[in-house]
Symmetry: C2
Subunit: 405 residues, 2 copies
DNA sequence: ACTGATTAGTCCTGATTACAAATTAATTAG
DNA sequence: CTAATTAATTTGTAATCAGGACTAATCAGT
C-alpha cells in the first residue's frame, strides 16, 4: 500500500516537470505550468532544484517569443535538459545480433555498435561475455569511460521479471530463471536493469517513435518470439509480480486438441521453418539471415511463403484484436523483423483484425506498422533506464539522482 | 495529468484509513498505523476528522486486549465504521431477474428484493421503470425514505463506460450506447452509477468474498454473457476510456474461417441453445429458468449437454489461461449461473486451463469457483458506490482541528 | 491506597512540499 | 523616462512526517 507523503508528492511532480522538459526539448517555466497544471511557485522550486543538480540548463536567448505575447513583458527563460547530466547504455539482445547504444541524458545516441553474432540458447556466462565486451567497446567508441555510465539496460526477448532483473525464459538462454541483471552488474560494476525487448521498444516508441503523443497503446514485436508491451497511462503495464508480457504463449483455438500456441503459428521461426523452407533458407536462418533471404525470395517472386505468412497474419490479427478488447488502446504498433514478409503477412493480419474486433472499438483503434531500425530497440532500453533515472515515482527501484551531489 | 497536491495526499490517506477500518471491522489507532505505515500524528488527525464527520465511532469497551500487550498500559480505543453514516442501493440487472439491496455504510445488507422478471433487449424507459420501482420498494422495505439514499449503483451485463454511466452494449437493452446512469439519476433524483456486473462482482469478492486478502485477481462471470473484471493493485482495472471488459468478444481460433467468438461457444445461451435443447428447455429459457432446468436434467442423468458443456469449458479454460498470461493474477474467481452445469463444464475448463497456461505461471495461479448468491451481485454494486463514497471529499474542508485553538 | 511501569493517544516544534497572493524583475510601448 | 505587461521569485497557509514532551488510563507490586 502506497503511503502518500510529501516525498512522493515531490517525486511525482519532479518527474512530471522533467518529463515535460524532455518532451518539449526547450520550454519556459510558464509553459511547463500550463502543461502540468502545477503552480508557478512549484515550477520555480522544482526547476531551481533541477538547475542546482545540473540536470537542466537555462537558455536566455530570446529567439522566437511565444505567439500569444506580443513580444511584451519579461522574456521567458527557456530550459532544456542537460544532455551530459548522465549517460546510459542500452542493449538489445536478439538471437542473431547484439545491438548497443550509449545515450546521453536526453536519450540521444552518442555511439552505437552492432555485433552480428548468434546468441541462441547459450549459458549465462557466454552471453554475459558478449554483452560485457559490447558494452565496453561501445562506451569506448563514445569517448567515455565505464565510470561515466550510470546504468546499463538490457532488452531481452522472452519473459523478464523487471524488479529482480531475472529472465524467466528466453530464446537466448539455455536455462530458465537466469539472474541476468545482477550477474552483469557485478561484472561491469554498474547498476543494470533487465527488461523485455517489447517493453523496451514500447518505451522507445513512446519517447522517440510513433507514440510520442499517446499515453495508451499496445506494442507487438514480431521477431523470433512474439513480444507484447502495453503502455497504460504513460506507464508500462506490468502484471502482478512485474512479469513482462509475452504474446507467444497465447493459445489460439477453441479446444485443447485443435489449439496451438501463437508462437507456433506466427513467430519468425514458425514461419521460416514451414514446409517451404529450402536448404539455402535453413542455412541463412542458422546464421541469422533468415528474413533477408526471405525478402530476396519475395523479390524474386517466390510465393512459397504466402500460405504460411497468411496463416500467421490471420492468427496475429485475431490475437491483437483480443488484446484491444482488453486494453482498449487507441493505437497498436507492430514492429520486428517479421515485417519483412510484407503484405503477405500484413494484409491478412489487418483483415482478420478488423473482422475480429468488436464493434464499439472498430473505429477507434488503429494499427501502425513501424519498420524500426536496430538502434531503436537499444535506445528503448536506454529510455527504460533514463525513465527510472528521472525518478518515476511508481517504479519499485527508483533511486534518485540527487545522491550524486 | 494528475497533479499531486496536499489535498490529494489527504484524500489518499483518508481513504486508506477508512478502508483499513472497514476491513478490520474494529481497530485501534496504533494498529491502523501499523497497517498503513502512516505516522501516529496523521492517524490522529484523520481519525479526529472522521469522528467529527461521524463516519466512524469509538468503542471504549476494553474487551480482549491485544495479545502482544500483557494487558498493561492505556487500553486502546477501538474504532468502527458508523454504519448509519450513509446508505446506498445496489442493483444487479440480469436478463432474467432484477436484484436490489440497500446497504449501510459498511456494506451490510439492510433489505433485499428480487424481481424475477425478464429484461431482454428492452428500451431504456421500460428497464428504467422496473429499476425505479425496485429501488423504491427496496428502500421502503429497509424502513428508509429515498432521501436517505446517497447513491444508487447499477450492475449491468455487457460493456459499460463507468465514467459517463453509459451502457455501450448489453443483452438487457435493445439499443446501444444507452445513457443509463443519467436517466435513472433524473428519475430518482439520486446520484447514480453504472458499472459492469463483472466489475461489481469483482468488488464484492474483494470486499466480502473470496478475495478479501488479495489485491490482484481476475473475475470471470459466466452468465448470459461472459464478463470480466480485473482487480489490479486493489483497484478495478479499466482500459483506456474506462470501458469495462468483456470476455465474450474474445475470438477463439487461428483463422477467420475457423474462429468463433467465445460468447458463441461458452455463454449460457450458447450452451442451452445447443442441438440438445428440447422444447421444455426452450420454454424454461424464455422465462429465465434455463439453468434450473438444466440442473434437473443433470440430476436425472441426462448427459445431452455433456458435449456442449465440455466444449464450452475447454474454450473458457483457454481464454482464462490467456488472461492469466497477461495479468499474472494469483487468483482467478469464477462466478455466474453457468456454474450450475457442474463438473461437465468445470472439469474440462480446469484441464484445458492447466494445459494452456504457460509454465512459469502454472503453480502460482489458482482457480476458485464461487457459487455466489444473487445478493452478492447487488452488494458488489453497492460496494462500488461505497468505495467512491470513501474517497469523496464528504466534509466541507479538511479537518485539522488544530486551527480551532 | 499509593507508587511506578507501561502503553495509547495528543500536542508541539521543525523540516518538507504543495498552493495562492503579493512582490520583484525584465522587457517593450508610448 | 514612465507605464504597462509578462516572467519568475518571495511570502504566508495547509498538509505530511519525525521526534519529543505530555496527558490518559490501566496493571503490578508494596
Amino acid at each position: 500500500m502506497k503511503t502518500a507523503d510529501p516525498e512522493l508528492m515531490r517525486a511525482i511532480n519532479r518527474f512530471h516537470v522533467l518529463d515535460t522538459i524532455r518532451r518539449a526539448g526547450s520550454i519556459s517555466r510558464v509553459e511547463i505550468g500550463e502543461r502540468t497544471q502545477l503552480s508557478a511557485t512549484t515550477i520555480s522550486a522544482i526547476t531551481a532544484a533541477l538547475l542546482d543538480d545540473e540536470l537542466i540548463t537555462p537558455h536566455h536567448e530570446g529567439g522566437l517569443r511565444s505567439d500569444s505575447n506580443g513580444n511584451r513583458g519579461r522574456p521567458r527563460v527557456m530550459l532544456t535538459l542537460n544532455a551530459s547530466a548522465a549517460r546510459v547504455v542500452g542493449a538489445k539482445i536478439a538471437t542473431n545480433r547484439l545491438v548497443f547504444v550509449v545515450t546521453d541524458f536526453q536519450g540521444d545516441i552518442l555511439a552505437h555498435l552492432t555485433l552480428p553474432v548468434r546468441v541462441d540458447r547459450l549459458p549465462l556466462p557466454v552471453v554475459a561475455d558478449l554483452v560485457e565486451d559490447g558494452v565496453r567497446r561501445c562506451v569506448l567508441d563514445a569517448g567515455l569511460a565505464l565510470a561515466d555510465i550510470h546504468t546499463v539496460a538490457l532488452a531481452v526477448p522472452g519473459v523478464v521479471e523487471h524488479g529482480s532483473g531475472r529472465v524467466r525464459s528466453s530464446p537466448v538462454f539455455r536455462d530458465v530463471d537466469v539472474p541476468l541483471a545482477t550477474y552483469i552488474a557485478e561484472r561491469l560494476g554498474i547498476a543494470t536493469i533487465a527488461e523485455s525487448d517489447a517493453n523496451a521498444m514500447a518505451m522507445a516508441q513512446h519517447w522517440f517513435g510513433r507514440a510520442r503523443d499517446c499515453d495508451d497503446f499496445v506494442l507487438v514485436s514480431m521477431e523470433e518470439g512474439l513480444g507484447l508491451g502495453v503502455m497504460h497511462g504513460g506507464q508500462l503495464f506490468r502484471g502482478a509480480r512485474e512479469l513482462s508480457l509475452d504474446l507467444g504463449h497465447m493459445m489460439m483455438g477453441v479446444s485443447t486438441v485443435q489449439s496451438e500456441r501463437l508462437s507456433d503459428i506466427a513467430s519468425e521461426r514458425a514461419i521460416l521453418d514451414g514446409e517451404h523452407a529450402d536448404l539455402r533458407l535453413r542455412e541463412a536462418m542458422r546464421v541469422g539471415r533468415g528474413m533477408n533471404h526471405v525478402q530476396r525470395l519475395l523479390a524474386e517472386g517466390d510465393d512459397g511463403f504466402t500460405a504460411t505468412a497468411s496463416r500467421a497474419g490471420e492468427a496475429l490479427g485475431i490475437a491483437i484484436a483480443n488484446l484491444v478488447g482488453l486494453f482498449a488502446p487507441p493505437r497498436v504498433i507492430l514492429v520486428g523483423s517479421s515485417l519483412a514478409l510484407g503484405r503477405s503477412l500484413l494484409d491478412p493480419l489487418q483483415a482478420s483484425f478488423e473482422r475480429a474486433l468488436s464493434a464499439p472499438l472498430r473505429e477507434v483503434s488503429q494499427i501502425i506498422i513501424d519498420e524500426a531500425g536496430d538502434e531503436l530497440w537499444a535506445r528503448g532500453a536506454a529510455a527504460v533506464a533514463l525513465s527510472e533515472l528521472y525518478g518515476s515515482p511508481w517504479s519499485t527501484t527508483g533511486p534518485a539522482l540527487r545522491s550524486t551531489l
